[in-house]
Subunit: 684 residues, 2 copies
Amino acid sequence: MVKFRASERMVDMLSEEMLTSYRAWLQYEPIEDQSYASNVSAYLKNVAVNLDCDEIIDNALIEWQTALGSMLQMNSAVDVGSELDQGLILKLDASYQEDTYTIDSSENLLTLTGGSSRAILYGIFHVLRLIQQRKSLDNLSIKETPKNKIRMINHWDDMDGSVERGYAGESFFFKDYKFIKDRQRIHDYARLLSSVGINALTINNVNVHKIETELVTDTYLADVKLTSDIFNQYGITMYLSINYAAPIELGVLDTADPLDENVIAFWEKTAKRVYEVVPNLGGFLVKADSENRPGPFTYNRDHAEGANMLGKALEPYGGIVIWRCFVYNNKQDWRDRKTDRARAAYDHFKPLDGKFNDNVVLQIKNGPMDFQVREPVSPLIGELKDTNQFLEFQIAQEYLGQQRHLVYLIPQWKEVLEFDTYAKGKGTKVKDIVSGEVFDNKIAGIVAVSNVGIDYNWTGHTMAQLNLYGYGRLIWNPDLTAEEIAMEWIKQTFGHDPQLIETIMKMVMPSWEAYENYTSPLGIGWMVNVSHHYGPNIDGYEYDMWGTYHYADRNGIGVDRTIATGTGYTGQYYKENQELYESIETCPDELLLFFHHVPYTHVLQSGKTVIQHIYDTHFKGVEQVEEMIEHWTSLEDKIDQRRYQDVKERLEHQLWSAKEWRDTINTYFYRKSGIADEHNRKIY
Amino acid sequence: MVKFRASERMVDMLSEEMLTSYRAWLQYEPIEDQSYASNVSAYLKNVAVNLDCDEIIDNALIEWQTALGSMLQMNSAVDVGSELDQGLILKLDASYQEDTYTIDSSENLLTLTGGSSRAILYGIFHVLRLIQQRKSLDNLSIKETPKNKIRMINHWDDMDGSVERGYAGESFFFKDYKFIKDRQRIHDYARLLSSVGINALTINNVNVHKIETELVTDTYLADVKLTSDIFNQYGITMYLSINYAAPIELGVLDTADPLDENVIAFWEKTAKRVYEVVPNLGGFLVKADSENRPGPFTYNRDHAEGANMLGKALEPYGGIVIWRCFVYNNKQDWRDRKTDRARAAYDHFKPLDGKFNDNVVLQIKNGPMDFQVREPVSPLIGELKDTNQFLEFQIAQEYLGQQRHLVYLIPQWKEVLEFDTYAKGKGTKVKDIVSGEVFDNKIAGIVAVSNVGIDYNWTGHTMAQLNLYGYGRLIWNPDLTAEEIAMEWIKQTFGHDPQLIETIMKMVMPSWEAYENYTSPLGIGWMVNVSHHYGPNIDGYEYDMWGTYHYADRNGIGVDRTIATGTGYTGQYYKENQELYESIETCPDELLLFFHHVPYTHVLQSGKTVIQHIYDTHFKGVEQVEEMIEHWTSLEDKIDQRRYQDVKERLEHQLWSAKEWRDTINTYFYRKSGIADEHNRKIY
């Protein structure tokens, strides 16, 4: 039954030294604590498989044996259909939801019951996670059901091998417009994803260029199928990003009008062929009418007409259409202060609520702009009462240091998930809306842009592995705290030394705040270099067409988005939030400049003036990075050299970059305001 | 003797409609004025060649016959060694300098006497230029000697086919790391160049990348020879840009130390082989220790040691080494206000004066920065008393609108050439130094970066042809006025309609001033987008490492480069200029911010404040572009549609871009200064 040992196949690819990085949180380090080892061993000796095996169960058992072999040097004997006194029993329970599993233990007997093969796989990873954390297996009574039904990753990989907004090397799916033949990386990636409960992904960029348009044609479908199968065997459903203009791009038609008969027929035929070859495909992801991508607007159709046409084409095969809401005017005139990009998603999609097919789902970014270090929650979330929706995060640190800066993203995402929209009165939190519970959606979930590439450690920055890990864990269970998730990850990734754990916790927990401190202040965002989005450039987007302005002058800064005197954006929120943001007195400090234009001398709720806040946070942010470096260097003899050096080099760069941010921002605002730092620190 | 008619070979490549653009100033339009035609015809009926023919003379005669066939539908009979009563006599005079020619006429006999075949070619083009301008050929008594011995073009073409800072399509020398087989373009280019007296060029980028390093090896030498031959046949000597690190790049050695025996031997061997295959090569052009290019600094050697080593290697073959002085710290810290990039060329090369070999020449950019719309003249010019030097201009409009904006560059260059350095007392003008006259240099001249590419009209913007034409004419004779040059060009390019001539003159003459008006003010320069250098970005380079800052704050703007309180840059000039620039009272307005940091309320010599000057010039600059458009559209029925539309579309883009500049600059400085426009015009 056991076909191969995954960790051995890894060895073919990388040196042993690199493998430690590559294994990420699936280290399965040998257990040195003999008392713990002997306590758990009894539960692990045998496995009784009381269910019909499939490839997912195969992979679960391979994982089990690999892990136990590595951690305990034991070979857990697998038997089908037998009963046990000691060991692990696997069984299905048809009354469970698909992804639900329970783990019960008593007297050296561990029972894992799942709603599906995939649930069993998740349960196996759960037990292994417990062991990697050295938790007891005694008297377990665990029931896990994921909060979100669909837990998805989006890749922005192009077929030339590049990754748009990729900071961890090239694609491991594509190179030179071909699928990469060696699929071991994909297999290992599927392991990592399923170990944290991811059950869906797209492999190609939402910006679908010429060649990538052919992914839905026979040119590539056989390869699509091979890739999809690997993910399927880890319980992950694959989707494809498609080009809305495919009928034109492929030279079949001269229109992509969603109401045109030939266009409808084109997509019906395309769907038919795609599902003939790849029957398990999840569906299509579409970025239409966005940042120069074609879409229904070209034909004076609305997004519902566009999405539903595709939805109907996929219906016979159970496929779904994921339609991105990242639609805004990207040819804005900076002179025009009335147009407000923040309004765009709501203005476009709120009027269409209820008009989408059952198998269409709208994908909404967490904030109204674009994955900035600080944004309010998108007001569209809570306003769509009769439309399937996904919440979209970005694990790739496009605006958050591009995986050269250590930034732990879970605290940011938790704020989003815990945000109270008041959509159905107090307590209507984002996490309950996007899970589908509040509005009883048929399709619901969370999606995020991947941060991985072909780098030997997957994510460029070793610490960025935590964001991938944490993403999976958080969307499975949004009630986990950021601390719990980080703690789990540290133990599995770096081991159990208490000083090590405490030190890394001190590095990761304040890292988002530190990044916010030394970059753009008080919710204003942007201030980065154009197009590559790295490093400070305060006016970088100020006189450009992207709708991303700060309006700083010699007196003050900020965007007036109030109903009273501004763009009216605050009116897109439910009353309680509207009032909160509308008033300069109640608007939270950290979002003040997002909602209001204020003088530098305005006194924040913190008691500081805006200008002094800018100076203070920027000096502090750099100090926080200096502390991170101190912490990390104290761990030199507790971590393997490769990972130690990898992180150390990036931290040193982060410090350099943080100083660039600090000095550029402080100098810019000092030059503009003429107001000196109260503490007389060095401003250039 | 006549091998082919050049203009007929052009026809093979382009449609007739495109050919009008392609012919540039060698239109040779049929002469409709019958009285003029009959007056000149007698001079043109026969040609008596009283000299030994070579390929240059061949090409001169081809040009002659092509032109007369086209303009007068006549076939000028060529005879060798005969005497004539009427017609053109060609002869050499050994007492003339190489490029000197005389043209004398009386009673229908035209005598062209040259110091060389090349001088004859120039004389032929001179006569054709007269005819194209409908000038009389009666009683001519012309003697022409070029002011500058070497009159050179630098291409920044890469072998992949791209052109660094190219705005007129790809290279017509290279594609996909090969020489382009069809060399007709090169032939026609050589015609254009020699028609205005250019006698030297490099074909490859000064930034010599990996593959291009092999141009001096047998991989490419046969192709180098073929290309060089075409230019030679028009009196143009070809040079190659070389990679200083070639010994390393080619994998031969692990050092490029100029004092290393093996390095010396490498270059001797390379030179030997190069000259075996391409005996007419002019030599090497080198960009070393500049913008990340390798150089002698790597080995703690100075530039004289680096250049002389190459000089000695070329000496046996009469080759020369052209060594660029564009050396500065491009990893500067913007916080450091003491380091001044403007000082760099002088600081590096002045101490080396007199240390360079006789066959080494230093190539000095016209200004201390980098081809900005307004810079002072490089203080190095006049300080090298015992060193060969070239002055470098840029015809490619890198910072001057990238051939999408109409900017006539001759007025700018004339200011440079007429600048009094006071190197040997009053009246020591740049034009007399770079010509070699002042310091009696063995090698001297002017070089400029090419603005051509494979576009059907050579230069992208039809009007940019004027800058190529004008460059050749100006460096041949710097005493020509900008008006004279423009007038010559208009007549040859567009014809003789008086309204057309007057209108185009009104467009081109103020165009540099207009561009300066709507872009960066008062000599401060930069304020463009990083790396591509197009469009306004006022802080684009402000917090960067390139040494290009404006230091604008809420009170004022400018770089203090005085001896008294600044970087001391003014001290690099001779006393008279030093005093002129050092004092805020005498410093010319147009360079004020280059030399001084002043408040926005500082009153210029013009009587305006700095801030009002900024507003006024920016509103005016846009109006000037609007006037250009009015002028041009008035010519719609006087110009062929292709060229009319080409220019019109670019003018419309220029207007859009000028408005972007105007509004960005005005808004930026209004936000910063808080000072309103006196005339209350729209500032955003």
